[in-house]
Symmetry: none
Subunit: 93 residues, 4 copies
C-alpha cells in the first residue's frame, strides 16, 4: 500500500531521502572545515583567532550587504518618480 488517503508514500520517501542526502553533504563539509582548521594549526596558526577573524569579516560583509540593500531601496524609490518616497525611506532607521 504505497498510497494512503490519496497521498503517495513513495513521494514522501523521496523527500526524506533528499533531506538525508543533503544532511550528509552538510556534515561532510563541516568535517572539511575541521580539517582545514587542523591543517592551519599544524602550520602554527591559532584556530581560535582564526575563528575571530572569520567572524569579524562575516559581520563586515553583512553590514556591507545591508548598506547595499538600503541603497537599492533609495534608488528604486527615485526610479518610481515619487519624490516623497525618498524622504520617508529611513525615518524609522
Amino acid at each position: 500500500m504505497a498510497n494512503v488517503g490519496g497521498v503517495s508514500g513513495a513521494q514522501l520517501r523521496q523527500f526524506i531521502e533528499r533531506i538525508e542526502r543533503l544532511e550528509e553533504e552538510k556534515k561532510a563539509i563541516a568535517d572539511d572545515i575541521k580539517d582545514v582548521y587542523a591543517e592551519a594549526k599544524a602550520n602554527g596558526f591559532d584556530p581560535k583567532i582564526m575563528r575571530q577573524v572569520i567572524k569579524v569579516r562575516k559581520m563586515e560583509t553583512q553590514e556591507r550587504q545591508e548598506l547595499e540593500a538600503l541603497l537599492d531601496v533609495y534608488l528604486h524609490a527615485l526610479e518610481g518618480g515619487d519624490a516623497a518616497a525618498a524622504a520617508d525611506d529611513d525615518a524609522t532607521a
Copy 2:
C-alpha cells in the same frame, strides 16, 4: 609586510578563504534542506513528522555504529588478554 613574526600572512589568508568558501557551501546546503521541507509541506506532508522520522532513522544508524564500536573495543580487550572481556556475558541482557 606579508610576514609577521615568522608566519606567512598569505598562507593564513589562504586558510581563511578556504574556510569561508566551505562555510558558504554549508549554508547553501542548509538552505536547500529548508527548501525541501517547504516543498514537502506544499505537497501536504507534515514537516514535524518528517523531522521525527529522520531523527529516528538517524538514531538507528548511530546505534549500529555504537554497537560496532563496542565490538571493536571488546576485540581490542581480548588482544590485550585481560579479564575485562567478561563484559560481554550478560551486561547487555
Copy 3:
C-alpha cells in the same frame, strides 16, 4: 539597598544560593560516578568498555523514546485528519 530597579536583591540571592547548592550536589554525584569506575577498574573491569556499554544502553533507551514520540506525532496528525498521516506507509521500510 536590597531593592534596585524594582527587583529584590534578597530574592535573587535565594535563587543564586539554591543553584549553588544544587551544583554542589551534582558535583558530588559526578565524583561518586568516578569512584565507581575506579572500584570497577580495581576489580579488573575495563572502564573504556564499561563506558561504551553504558552509552549503547542509553542510546537504546533514547531510541525507544523517539519511536514513542513518532507514534504520538502520528496520532496527533490523524486527529487533525490531514494527509500527513501517509508518512507511516513505507518511510521506515
Copy 4:
C-alpha cells in the same frame, strides 16, 4: 554463563547499574537547576547574568580555598620544627 575467565559478569552488572542510577540522579539535579533558572527568569532576572554571578563566586571560592591550602602548608612546615622548610616553601611558586 555468568562467569567468564574467573570474573563475575554479575559483578560487572552491579557496577553498570550503579553508574546508570547515579547518572539519572545527576540528570535530575541538572533539570532542577534548569527549573530554578526558569523560575528566576519568570521573576524578571536574567539567567545569563546569574550564570556570570555564580561563575565569579565560584572562582572566589576556589581562590580562597587555595589560599587556605597554602596557609596549611606553611603552618605544617612550622609545626615540623624545621626552620629551613618555611623558607623553601614557595621558592618555586
